[in-house]
């Protein structure tokens, strides 16, 4: 009997311990110590978003697209591995999915919209204008590459599968966006970010860049509607007007801040070399940019690889372009001048065209500290088609490693390139790349690669 009683006391004690444990553990699971993520932030400020947006923009402008198109325009050559496949125009839908996804995901449109929201809420109007120019630049580049893409329904929590907007409607929307951006910038109102890595929050530079960007976006449609030349000319004339007004990416010698090109070469040295076409062109012109763009080959001379030729023994990029802190062009003063030249030419004003072209030559000399007149000047013996060809050639050389060189080539078909395997460059060299497989597989609005158009609406032939 005694034993039983003891047992009962024991049981009671256990029940007590359990009850104690239960009551003591009310917060066991809900304690902030285990509920808050120490590794990520849930609330960030405008400047931190702006920082992410800018670095994302730099990655977009000088990253994989620039590499691919530099190979297709034969400024560069793909000489090893996947880059050889790209050089042979073998690309799959997963090859550039990071670039496509970055349009919208973190640092892309979603955060630009976050920034526009925060700046609006705080009435930081000019800051908002900067954000809008970033959006127009990002979406304009993207629409030029992929054509019809999600935009009006993108980054909207209520829309699970954004539709594709027509390329034209996106460009139209971007022109309006840039007009609004210019208005915002002109207001000069509100707080300005300390970390504007492009123009140091110099609003006049932003306004000029917005005009240049408008001009560029108009030009993208000139093949379809020549009326755009006049529109482009009007904007370019309000555009970037001096060398320091150029939009460029920013880098430093710190490894994690170094340029994408440097990092690509650091990891994949043999994958890319000088394009034979550009090397030969520079050699034939005796152009001093040969040494600026490229490094000597093993024989001490300059050589480039043919399209699709797996040959890493030719010239590589120069130490200038492979410097960790080299800033790559996004939208430059000389591009603006080339736009003026082309648009003026197309609207019948050869004199303005020549002046702009020669100013571009002079700007490039200044930029690279070249001797005055070490680059050609074009007098009035250059006229008609010959002048246009020179404008296109100079722009092709001048916009080295810039995505815009590919857009120009698609539109003007100049310079005349011989594609890998010979044949017609218009059918051999791709005029668009497939949508990201990540988007295609999750968004029923995106057709499979075989049903995607080969060319974009602004580039019908």
């Amino acid at each position: 009997m005694l034993k039983r009683k003891k047992g009962a006391i024991g049981l009671l004690a256990i029940a007590f311990i359990i009850a104690g444990l239960v009551s003591g553990c009310q917060d066991f699971l809900n304690n902030p110590e285990v509920q808050n993520d120490p590794n990520r932030a849930t609330d960030v400020q405008a400047d931190q978003l702006f920082q992410g947006i800018q670095v994302g923009q730099f990655f977009m402008q000088e990253g994989g697209l620039a590499r691919l198109f530099s190979v297709w325009t034969q400024q560069m050559a793909g000489t090893d591995r996947q880059l050889v496949a790209y050089a042979k125009y073998d690309i799959t839908e997963s090859d550039h999915d990071d670039e496509f996804n970055n349009i919208y995901t973190g640092g892309g449109l979603i955060d630009i919209r976050n920034l526009i929201k925060v700046t609006s809420e705080n009435s930081w109007i000019a800051y908002r204008g900067i954000a809008k120019v970033h959006e127009a630049l990002l979406m304009g580049t993207s629409a030029s590459v992929w054509g019809d893409i999600p935009y009006s329904e993108a980054v909207n929590d209520d829309i699970a599968t954004p539709k594709l907007d027509s390329q034209k409607s996106i460009y139209d929307a971007l022109q309006i966006l840039l007009d609004n951006a210019i208005t915002d910038l002109q207001s000069g109102e509100g707080y300005l970010p300390p970390n504007d890595h492009i123009f140091g929050a110099d609003l006049s530079k932003w306004i000029a860049a917005a005009h240049s960007l408008k001009a560029r976006l108009y030009l993208h449609w000139a093949e379809v509607d020549p009326g755009n030349y006049a529109l482009a000319l009007a904007q370019a004339q309000q555009g970037i007007s001096f060398v320091e007004g150029s939009m460029k990416t920013r880098h430093s010698t710190v490894e994690s801040e170094s340029s994408v090109w440097y990092q690509f070469y650091r990891e994949r040295d043999s994958y890319m070399r000088a394009g034979k076409f550009l090397v030969d062109l520079l050699v034939s012109r005796n152009d001093p940019r040969l040494q600026i763009y490229f490094a000597p080959d093993d024989n001490g001379g300059y050589s480039g690889a043919e399209p699709g030729e797996g040959n890493a023994l030719v010239s590589s990029l120069s130490s200038i372009f492979l410097a960790k802190d080299h800033s790559f062009d996004i939208l430059t003063y000389e591009e603006n001048l080339f736009m003026v030249a082309e648009a003026a030419f197309k609207t019948g004003d050869e004199s303005t065209a020549r002046t702009a072209l020669n100013n571009a030559m002079s700007a490039i000399e200044t930029r690279w500290s070249l001797d005055v007149n070490s680059l050609p000047r074009y007098d009035n013996t250059f006229t008609g088609q010959a002048l246009l060809e020179k404008i296109c050639e100079e722009k092709y050389i001048g916009l080295f490693l810039n995505i815009e060189a590919y857009n120009d080539w698609k539109r003007t078909k100049m310079p005349i390139l011989v594609p890998f395997g010979g044949g017609d460059p218009e059918t051999s060299i791709p005029h668009r790349i497939p949508y990201s497989d990540d988007e295609r597989q999750t968004n029923p609005n995106v057709p499979p690669p075989s049903q995607q158009p080969l060319r974009n609406t602004n580039d019908p032939s």
Binding site: V22, L29, D98
Partner: protein, 1071 residues
């Protein structure tokens, strides 16, 4: 030895009665336990259950114990004997004061080991015959005979549907375990591991420069810190029906590890010394005919290919695979001391395991020093205290491997045969590689590192301190109630250094990475168990209720230092820029559980359990969830109707079970947040958002969700266990059907929504399978026994639904990725293929886009290649499923012969049927022209010998039937004929294998003179071989390999380090 510690505590409450001075009236009970043939059975448990007094039999099978006088009342009591592998016996004896009892036992063999006590979870031990589920059990001897340093590897081929993959032959390499297929998408497939009732850490951390698991160095899995010598048994709860009591961490099954304990009796001292020699097994075949160059023209310098000129006979040619390896050595020393009195038991072990790998390097080794102390003490008649403390110090030096320009095999196998890699420093004393042999600078890339540079100059040490301990208190207020509390802690700190010296291709300016990984897990478990017998229906009722609290935390500090200033100074101080990183988490679980087990008529066993589980990782979602299970077993041969069949059908049981187990969301993943990220596109570049002195944040790629339920696996299992012919032939068959619902995954969403993934309970997976185990003793005569066992398991896995997503990527390479694809088995390998018929492909013919299926209707059958005008097939830009890494079935055959109880010969054949491996190594070597298969030539029109072959592709299309020349340009190198830049499906191979996993011969030297002369009771001498032969059609290294370690991404071979075969010589001295 065969007694299980926990089982003992729970089932028998206390085996050994209090030490009491015995008086004149005490009764001595003694006797001898033998088998049917009269062979003594040492270590059998003899017990008077009603008095909880007993002993174990000695080496000669004799036993003796004393019933103290105060318990001797002239009563009749049951005296039972248990011995694993034999049917237990019960004898009735009368305890009369001063009348000693002599009782001998003759036990009958039981191949199904139905009376073996297995732990079914939460410390509850149950005899196998009562189980409603199959629980795999691996015991001391099997672990010892595997001769594996990693206890997970010791499970190779032991249990049906428990798939074990040693990821490489490197010292300390991780071993992957997968039980009954995969039932999650991204949740990890490794089971929960529990040591003596306390969950432990089995993390595998890549760290270093591993970039998503395919580069860097080989990681280990933390369970390998445990000294396998300390293990008494490993039990595997395979599915939800068995593991439900572990609730929301048990979806992958549970591996219960029980360590050895001291036993009542004189001190047992045992010393083991084992010496192992390791040799690499298969290496890729390389050509030595053609030298460095392109298109048949020889070059030196920065030309990566070996498609150059034919080497003259005077040019020395090197085999760049074989030259890297030598014989590896392992020395293991193990000392254990154990014993006990009636109140105290103790177990102490010391071990040192030091392995030097097969690579010609001083920087490839694994050294483990492990100490374990385990002791128990009875306090009074109601308390028992057990403590178990283990410490391991593990040092590893690893070699750069995999997809990594500083990887060993990558640089080695790509080297042209005419380049001598062994001279890895050039005339200036700088790194010399085949692409940059003469660099006059310390820094700068070398294309790929010279493998001897990798072996001699790179450093990748990892230093781990691991402390594990638990304390268990048992309290028995009355004889039918037990209250136990277990408090355990597992701590490990892994400190690593990665030195990529200046002049290495991965980081030409040098990089030093310092990392610390710290893991802590604390768990406390309270369980109250009541067991009562009732006379009606021989009813035994066992009720248990309890609570479990668990907290685990992890933190990782990393500092990457770039730009080394001087060579050979390997601290961060020697670098010029730094980027620090930290990552940490903390998780808490709180669970309540209850279980009822009912035994009726000694033949019907029913149990039911329920667990309510709460976890902090649910965030804003409901944190608590229920997990039930129920099972039943009926030993129908206990019916009177079967009594006469005893000889032929000696045992028969049918069983069925149902259970649910779960999986929590990963920590913090329910939260939507901003990250400090970097931009990159898989080429190795990383542009940090935080830059130029400003912090940068961006929206995370994944969106969280505050409405998440646990993943829930619902499993039904049924089976039958039969033993025939005096229990000499046993078979068990199990069928299970498992459905996992609400699988948590970051479901791919269109990136255009701003998030590439959104957390959802989205997927449904099914696993169903069969398991068959056969155990027999075909021959059993005096002094000779032949045991034979077969294990066979088949699991069919199917991703039933992904909530609309076509597939979910799991990771991999640019050219081949693992994915969960709706309607396919988990882990499908995806990549590019050729344009084939029957898939709606379009191609361009004469400038026109045509649908090939329509245009060539009637000419093709599905899967045929489309042959373009030039006679070659085309690339299909759409990625597709190209392989399935899951085996069709796995099995093993093990056998042993025992002569005179002294000589034992045993062997294990391990079989895997099916399961694709992506041999990316081979694809790359085609591209580089170093693979043996590229040693081809044909005679061209001008009569010249050219490298390549003439071939006509089978298929349909404008170029069908056209003979083409396949050479570097058109096919093997820059064409589609390699998975490197071409079509990834070219490298899919069947990874089936049969391996002679273990073979061992042991002899026990126990001549009486030995004892006389040395005092030793016996010496075990053993010679064994591991992985001696592999039969496979796989053309790469061993098909048992995986670049991604224990990740869900399986079936990848990309410059993996090879496997090893070993010979082991073991001496064990028992005192």
């Amino acid at each position: 030895m065969q007694k299980k510690f926990i089982a003992t505590i729970i089932c028998c409450a206390f085996v050994i009665a209090p030490a009491l001075a015995f008086s004149q009236e005490a009764v001595v009970i003694s006797g001898k336990v033998t088998d049917e043939l009269g062979e003594p059975l040492p270590g059998a448990n003899i017990l008077i259950p009603s008095l909880r007094i007993g002993a174990a039999s000695d080496k000669d099978g004799t036993y003796r114990f004393i019933v103290p006088s105060n318990l001797v009342r002239g009563q009749r009591v049951d005296l039972s004997v248990r011995y694993i592998g034999y049917r237990s016996e019960v004898a009735q004896v009368t305890l009369t004061p001063s009348a000693n009892v002599v009782q001998d036992f003759k036990l009958r063999v039981d191949v199904l080991k139905m009376e073996e006590v297995v732990v079914t979870g939460m410390g509850v031990g149950v005899e196998k015959e009562k189980l409603g589920v199959t629980i795999g059990k691996v015991k001391t001897q099997e672990i010892a005979e595997s001769d594996e340093g990693n206890l997970v590897s010791a499970l190779h081929g032991k249990v049906a549907n428990v798939e074990i993959t040693s990821t490489s032959g490197e010292p300390g390499a991780a071993t992957y375990i997968r039980i009954r297929g995969v039932n999650t998408i991204r949740g990890g497939t490794q089971p929960l591991m529990v040591v003596d009732g306390t969950p432990i850490n089995n993390q595998m951390i890549f760290g270093g420069n591993s970039t998503g698991g395919h580069g860097g160095t080989t990681p280990t899995n933390r369970a390998s810190d445990i000294n396998p010598e300390d293990i008494e048994s490993i039990e595997i709860l395979k599915g939800a029906a068995a593991s439900a009591i572990y609730g929301s961490r048990a979806n992958n099954g549970v591996v219960l590890i029980t360590t050895k304990s001291g036993k009542f009796g004189r001190p047992q001292l045992s010393y083991k010394v084992a010496y192992t020699i390791d040799r690499v097994t298969n290496l890729p075949e390389l050509q030595t005919t053609y030298g460095q160059g392109v298109d048949g023209v020889g070059y030196t310098g920065n030309v990566p290919w070996s498609w150059g000129a034919k080497l003259t006979s005077s040019t020395p040619a090197y085999n760049h695979a074989e030259e890297l390896f030598e014989t590896g050595h392992t020395l293991e020393n193990n000392l254990t001391l154990s014993g006990g009195t009636e109140a105290t038991t103790y177990y102490l072990s010391l071990s040192r395991y030091s392995q030097n790998g097969t690579m010609k390097s001083d920087n490839s080794d694994y050294n483990r020093t492990a100490v374990r102390v385990k002791a128990s003490q009875r306090i009074g008649s109601k308390f028992n205290l057990m403590g178990n403390i283990a410490f391991s110090d593990v040092g590893m030096d690893r070699i750069q491997r995999g997809s990594n320009v500083s990887g060993l095999m990558l640089g080695a196998l790509r080297t042209p045969p005419d380049f001598n890699n062994e001279i890895y420093l050039n005339e200036y004393g700088f790194h010399r590689s085949y692409r940059f042999p003469d660099r006059a600078t310390l820094g700068g890339t070398r294309g790929y590192d010279n493998p001897f540079w990798v072996l001699n100059e790179h450093l990748n040490p990892s230093d781990v301190g691991r402390a594990f301990g638990n304390i268990k208190v048992d309290f028995d207020p009355v004889d039918w109630i037990n209250v136990s509390y277990t408090l355990g802690h597992d701590y490990s700190e892994d400190e690593r250094r990665t030195v990529i010296p200046i002049g290495s291709s991965d980081k030409p300016e040098g990089r030093i990475i310092r990392e610390k990984f710290n893991y802590k897990e604390t768990s406390g478990r309270l369980a109250v168990t009541a067991t009562r017998r009732f006379t009606p229906a021989n009813l035994v009722l066992n009720v248990m209720a309890g609570q479990e609290l668990n907290q685990r935390s992890y933190n990782n500090f990393t500092t990457i230092g770039d730009g080394m200033s001087v060579f050979g100074f390997d601290q961060l101080d020697n670098t010029t820029s730094w980027s620090p990183d930290e990552y940490e988490w903390k998780i808490r679980d709180e669970a309540y559980f209850g279980q009822i087990m009912v035994d009726m008529w000694d033949q019907l066993y029913v149990s039911a359990a329920i667990r309510n589980d709460g976890s902090s990782t649910f965030g804003g979602s409901d944190k608590r969830h229920w997990f039930p299970k129920v099972s039943g077993a009926w030993e129908f041969t206990a019916l009177d109707q079967f009594k006469g069949f005893g000889k032929w059908l000696s045992f028969g049981k049918i069983r069925a079970a149902y259970g649910e187990s779960g999986r929590q969301p990963a920590v913090y993943e329910t939260i939507t947040a901003f990250i400090t990220g970097a931009y990159g596109a898989g080429w190795g570049e990383a542009l940090d958002a935080t830059a130029f002195g400003y912090g940068g944040f961006l929206s995370d790629y994944s969106r969280g969700n505050n409405n998440i339920d646990p993943e829930r696996a619902k499993e039904t299992e049924f089976g039958v266990d039969l033993a025939f012919y005096h229990n000499r032939f046993g078979i068990n068959v199990t069928r299970y059907l498992q459905k996992t619902e609400d699988v948590i995954l970051s479901l791919p969403t269109p990136p255009s929504t701003g998030y590439g993934e959104t957390l959802k309970n989205a997927a449904v997976l099914e696993n169903d399978g069969w398991e068959i185990g056969i155990d027999m003793q075909p021959i059993r005569i005096r002094n000779f026994t032949w045991d034979l066992g077969l294990v066979w398991g088949k699991n069919d896995n199917m991703v039933k639904s992904l909530a609309g997503a076509e597939f979910v990527g799991l990771g991999g390479f640019v050219s081949c990725n693992a994915a969960a694809v709706e309607g396919e088995s988990y882990g499908s390998l995806r990549g590019t293929d050729f344009v084939r018929f029957g898939r709606g492909n379009t191609v361009i013919e004469n400038g026109q886009v045509i649908d090939i299926d329509t245009k060539y209707a009637g000419q093709w059958s599905s899967g045929d290649l489309y042959i373009a005008e030039d006679g070659f097939p085309l690339l299909d830009a759409q990625e597709r499923t190209i392989g399935d890494p899951n085996p069709d079935w796995t099995g093993s055959i093990r056998t042993s012969f025992t002569l005179f109880n002294k000589l034992r010969i045993s062997g294990l054949l391990d079989i895997k049927q099916g399961g694709d491996v992506w041999n990316g190594t081979k694809g790359a070597l085609y591209y580089f022209g170093t693979h043996k298969d590229t040693d081809l030539h044909y005679i061209d029109a001008s009569g010249q010998e050219q490298r390549g072959d003439k071939y006509t592709f089978a298929g349909v299309g404008p170029g069908a039937g056209t003979e083409v020349i396949r050479d570097q340009d058109s096919w093997y190198g820059f064409g589609l004929g390699n998975s490197f830049v071409g079509v990834s499906s070219e490298s899919i191979e069947d990874g089936s294998y049969v391996k002679l996993r273990e073979i061992s011969v042991s002899y026990k030297l126990d001549h009486p003179k030995l004892k006389q002369w040395t005092g030793l009771s016996d010496i075990d001498i053993r010679i064994s071989g591991r992985n001696l032969v592999t039969w496979t059609d796989y053309t790469g290294i061993d098909p048992e390999t995986n670049l991604f370690g224990t990740l869900n991404i399986q079936g990848f071979d990309y410059f993996n380090n090879p496997q090893t075969r070993s010979f082991v010589f073991t001496l064990r001295f028992n005192y």
